[in-house]
């Protein structure tokens, strides 16, 4: 079942095995809920402003490891912003957030 989708990615859930599937266009990543929380934490904790500085993101993309380094993903700044939007949307759809904007510190 589709939880949320954006331009470059989507999140589905499968009630039969209690897994979530994060589709990043080129890659589909199965996630347990705690892993979904960890992905959310990793993406929302990225300092957005620093992505636009060359030292942090020299070629307009960032390499991230997800799920205890099981997955390596390469995302452009646009895809990171899109994934951020997806995660915000997904938790609203799942009834665990009523905020449109993250209060992430």
């Amino acid at each position: 079942m589709l939880v949320a989708n954006t331009k470059y990615c989507s999140l589905r859930q499968d009630a039969s095995n209690r897994f979530f599937y994060l589709h990043l266009g080129h890659k589909s990543i199965p996630l347990r809920f705690c892993e979904l929380l960890a992905v959310r934490e990793k993406i929302l904790s990225l300092e957005m402003a620093s992505l636009f500085y060359e030292e942090s993101c020299p070629h307009d993309f960032k390499i991230l490891t997800l799920c205890n380094q099981q997955h390596l993903v390469l995302l452009t700044i646009e895809e990171i912003l899109d994934l951020r939007e997806l995660l915000l949307q997904a938790f609203v759809r799942m009834g665990l957030s009523c905020a449109r904007e993250s209060v992430y510190i």
Binding site: F33, M94, A99
Partner: protein, 173 residues
């Protein structure tokens, strides 16, 4: 939509984020009190140092209380990074004034989380924080009483020694 996520997490995700922020704040307070204990030891305020060693432990206990709450509710607690600890104080009064500033900051942060939890109908988080709200009243009151005592005693002559000796009272409480 089938509530797989809700079955895994008992609180609102924003509450989890704010509580992770609070974990960081409590860890920072714990480290700040350790720096104050160090200053007191180096400047001959040995009873005050004992007071701040105890405060350090208390702040860590607060941090762990929140950490364990996030575990119990299915959340994801983050072990905090702590930096920017001040080790420089101009006097024992300055130390306690800084401590009061810390406590006020912590109190305001907790009240903010309560307000946000209330707005999102996250009763679990709101109730959990009841204890912290009252604890902060006690913490602020302790430091305020000490500052009053410092004011009355004065810093001249044997005043400093008298101040340090008087701190014992608040350690035993």
């Amino acid at each position: 939509m089938n509530d797989i996520a809700r079955q895994q997490l008992s609180i609102q995700i924003e509450s989890m984020d704010l509580l992770n922020g609070q974990i960081k704040m409590e860890a920072h307070a714990s480290a700040a009190y350790l720096a104050m204990a160090s200053w007191c030891e180096q400047n001959g305020f040995f009873t005050s140092a004992k007071f701040f060693f105890k405060q350090t432990e208390e702040e860590r206990e607060h941090m762990m209380k929140i950490f364990n709450f996030l575990i119990d509710t299915g959340g994801s607690p983050i072990s905090p990074e702590v930096s920017g600890i001040n080790h420089e104080f101009s006097s024992i009064k300055d130390v306690f004034e800084s401590a009061l500033q810390h406590e006020v900051k912590v109190s305001e942060s907790i009240k903010n989380i309560v307000k946000k939890a209330r707005a999102s109908m996250d009763i679990t988080t709101e109730r959990f924080l009841d204890w912290f709200v009252l604890e902060q009243v006690e913490e602020e009151n302790t430091i305020r009483d000490i500052l009053d005592m410092i004011e009355l005693t004065g810093m001249e002559g044997v005043g400093k020694q008298m101040i340090d000796n008087s701190i014992e009272k608040w350690i035993e409480e």
